[in-house]
């Protein structure tokens, strides 16, 4: 005896509640800290996209006469670096690479890590053990060490840097994904779905994903700042971006010795890394609060 449909065949019109995500956006909008953080990130992204039009000077043009000018020099509002290049322009152009190196690995790791973690969490048993213990091997390495080792093995360059950072972030995301999925799997509504005869894929799609991706996403956005700093660190060590590309971490490296001559100018790339990291973190925190539904 199959499940029969209704005699009417037509649903009646209903009042709809605003969906879950609408509620999240609404709560986020009311959070001043998160909104400021979001504004800062938007400005940085816009600066990165429109760098050629916004930057006052050519970031690559060097001049040995104009080396290490201080902040406030006419024509070079934020001074010049050790090769006489305009700091402001380099910082603006640097946003491109730095944001790229910060966001992309996390983005990639989010998809790969979630896939691994959700599969392990839902299937449980031996599959879970094999997947998660493998992940744990990578997770046992401190992330900086792992990033350096992978970069060293792969060689310097932007693409290799992105690859090694992605690999670094897959284990923590997979762990979170597995843990959240395991928890959700035990909740009654998933059991009820299993009792309805739905296939595993359907259950994951309808019941698990919606409840699991949110927390994973929040965790991942918190990792962006780490990725940014790690990328800067790799560039600092000469393993990521190569000169003369403007990238904040690399700039910190090359300006190292200028700390005694023009400390404020030398610190500027660090300030940018700081502002960007903290904005992503605050936005991530705000997201987490907004997603906490118990209305």
């Amino acid at each position: 005896m199959s499940v029969t449909a209704s005699a009417l065949g037509r649903p009646t019109p209903v009042e709809r509640s605003p969906g879950y995500w609408a509620g999240v956006v609404r709560r986020l909008r009311r959070d001043p800290v998160a909104m400021v953080a979001l504004a800062i990130i938007v400005v940085l992204v816009l600066l990165a996209i429109f760098a050629p039009w916004v930057a006052p000077n050519d970031p690559y043009r060097s001049s040995m006469i104009r080396r290490l000018r201080p902040i406030g020099t006419p024509g070079f509002p934020l001074g010049t670096d050790e090769l006489g290049r305009d700091m402001l322009s380099r910082l603006i152009f640097g946003a491109r690479l730095s944001l790229l190196m910060g966001v992309t690995p996390v983005f990639v790791a989010f998809f790969v890590g979630s896939f691994i973690g959700i599969t392990a969490g839902y299937l449980g048993g031996k599959v879970n053990t094999v997947l998660m213990r493998t992940i744990d091997v990578f997770f046992a390495f401190p992330s900086v060490l792992l990033a350096i080792a992978l970069s060293g093995a792969l060689g310097a360059g932007i693409f290799n840097g992105l690859l090694s950072l992605s690999i670094v972030f897959i284990p923590p995301i997979a762990r979170i994904a597995e843990s959240v999925t395991t928890a959700v799997r035990k909740i009654d509504y998933v059991e009820a779905a299993r009792a309805s005869g739905a296939s595993a894929m359907t259950i994951i799609r309808v019941h698990v994903l919606g409840n699991v991706l949110g927390p994973i996403f929040v965790y991942a956005t918190g990792l962006i700042s780490v990725s940014l700093i790690l990328a800067s660190g790799l560039s600092f060590l000469g393993l990521g971006v190569k000169p003369p590309e403007p990238e904040w971490g690399l700039m910190l490296n090359t300006l190292r010795n200028a700390i005694y001559v023009q400390p404020w100018v030398a610190a500027l790339p660090g300030v940018m890394i700081f502002i960007t990291s903290i904005s992503f973190n605050l936005l991530s925190d705000g997201l987490r609060s907004a997603m906490d539904i118990k209305a």
Binding site: V3, S6, R16, A195
Partner: protein, 338 residues
């Protein structure tokens, strides 16, 4: 001739191994459900009562295979699971409503989506399934216009439980297992939901398995009652017979543990001491003998099987009731007519 029972459970068993120690060595076995057998007739309500660790919730999950049974047979309408009855078919015909109304509903799905999910999985179009969902909402007393587009957190506990009932009914099941379905509700809401359940049972010709720790509710709702203790059936019989003439000492203790409603007849002494024990490594022989005031040496050695008492369809697993068992309180074995 009485018709065959709708649901027949025989020898249902489920043990959980406890892992402990360095290499996950077995640290003991939880004998959650140990070879229980019972039947449910079409159109009746079987109540299952018992305290923590008795295995009633595990039994419910074993019946719909949310937990795999170690052994035992499940027969529905004369067909045996695994032989001529597919699991998918069983799951359609036997549905379950859980205790926690909030955890039973996906917070991301609207009410109508939650109810329509089951039918869509079984091949019904989304449109038709949604129409069915609206119909069922009316049946459970929730106006579709107001409720179908809402999310679980916007509803009260009683309303959520109605949604859960509608969700179970979307499969047009024959049997609905209510696992402490009203236990978490306020008393006034509970009464409303019980009325609804009675109405639905009558209207749709349902059969209920009603699991509860509240003996008053079970007395009101059930036709027959099964009392479980530590994974086994202690006593089973028609509800009035069980409540009027409880035979197993555990049933007697359960009934007398109910708080009194009469200020002139307050309880003087607790019928049992201590907590309900853990089903890990249960006592040998009769599992209740360690707390039973009538226990003798026999009770610790031999497990009594369910014995049919004088009252119709009333069985108890107690040596005191089995003639010739060797227990001092047992009736003398009737000599067969020469």
């Amino acid at each position: 001739m009485t018709p065959a029972p709708l649901l027949e459970i025989a020898g249902l068993t489920r043990h959980f191994k406890l892992k402990g120690g360095l290499f996950g060595r077995s640290a003991g076995v939880v004998r959650a459900v140990d070879g229980i057998s019972f039947e449910v007739d079409e159109g009746e309500t079987l109540g299952i009562v018992g305290e923590s660790g008795c295995g009633k919730s595990t039994t419910a999950r074993l019946i719909v295979d949310l937990i795999a049974a170690d052994s035992g047979t499940i027969r529905l309408g004369g067909r045996t699971l695994g032989v001529d009855l597919e699991l998918r078919e069983l799951r359609r015909q036997v549905q379950m409503v859980f205790q926690d109304s909030y955890a039973s509903l996906n917070p991301r799905l609207t009410v109508e989506e939650a109810i329509a999910f089951g039918p869509t999985v079984n091949g019904v179009s989304v449109r038709e399934a949604t129409a069915l969902a609206h119909e069922l909402l009316v049946k459970v007393g929730l106006e579709p216009k107001r409720f179908a587009g809402r999310y679980p957190h916007e509803l009260s506990g009683g309303q959520r439980q109605r949604v859960n009932i509608a969700r179970a009914l979307a499969f047009r099941p024959k049997v609905v297992i209510l696992d402490e379905a009203v236990s978490a509700l306020d008393k006034s809401v509970e009464a409303q939901v019980l009325n609804l359940l009675s109405d639905l049972k009558r209207e749709l010709g349902l059969t209920y398995i009603f699991i509860s720790h509240d003996l008053n509710v079970v007395r009101y709702m059930a036709d027959r009652v099964m009392v479980m203790y530590l994974g086994e059936v202690a006593e089973i019989g028609p509800v009035e017979s069980i409540y009027a003439r409880p035979t197993h000492p555990y049933t007697q203790a359960l009934l007398s543990a109910m708080p009194s409603m009469d200020p002139d007849q307050l309880t003087r002494e607790a019928p049992l001491a201590g907590d309900p024990p853990n089903p890990i490594n249960p006592p040998p022989g009769c599992r209740f003998h360690t707390r039973c005031r009538y226990a003798t040496e026999l009770c610790g050695k031999t497990t009594p099987s369910l014995f049919a008492l004088a009252a119709p369809r009333h069985l108890a697993a107690c040596h005191r009731a089995i003639p010739g068992s060797g227990h001092p309180d047992a009736p003398r074995r009737l000599e067969t007519a020469a």
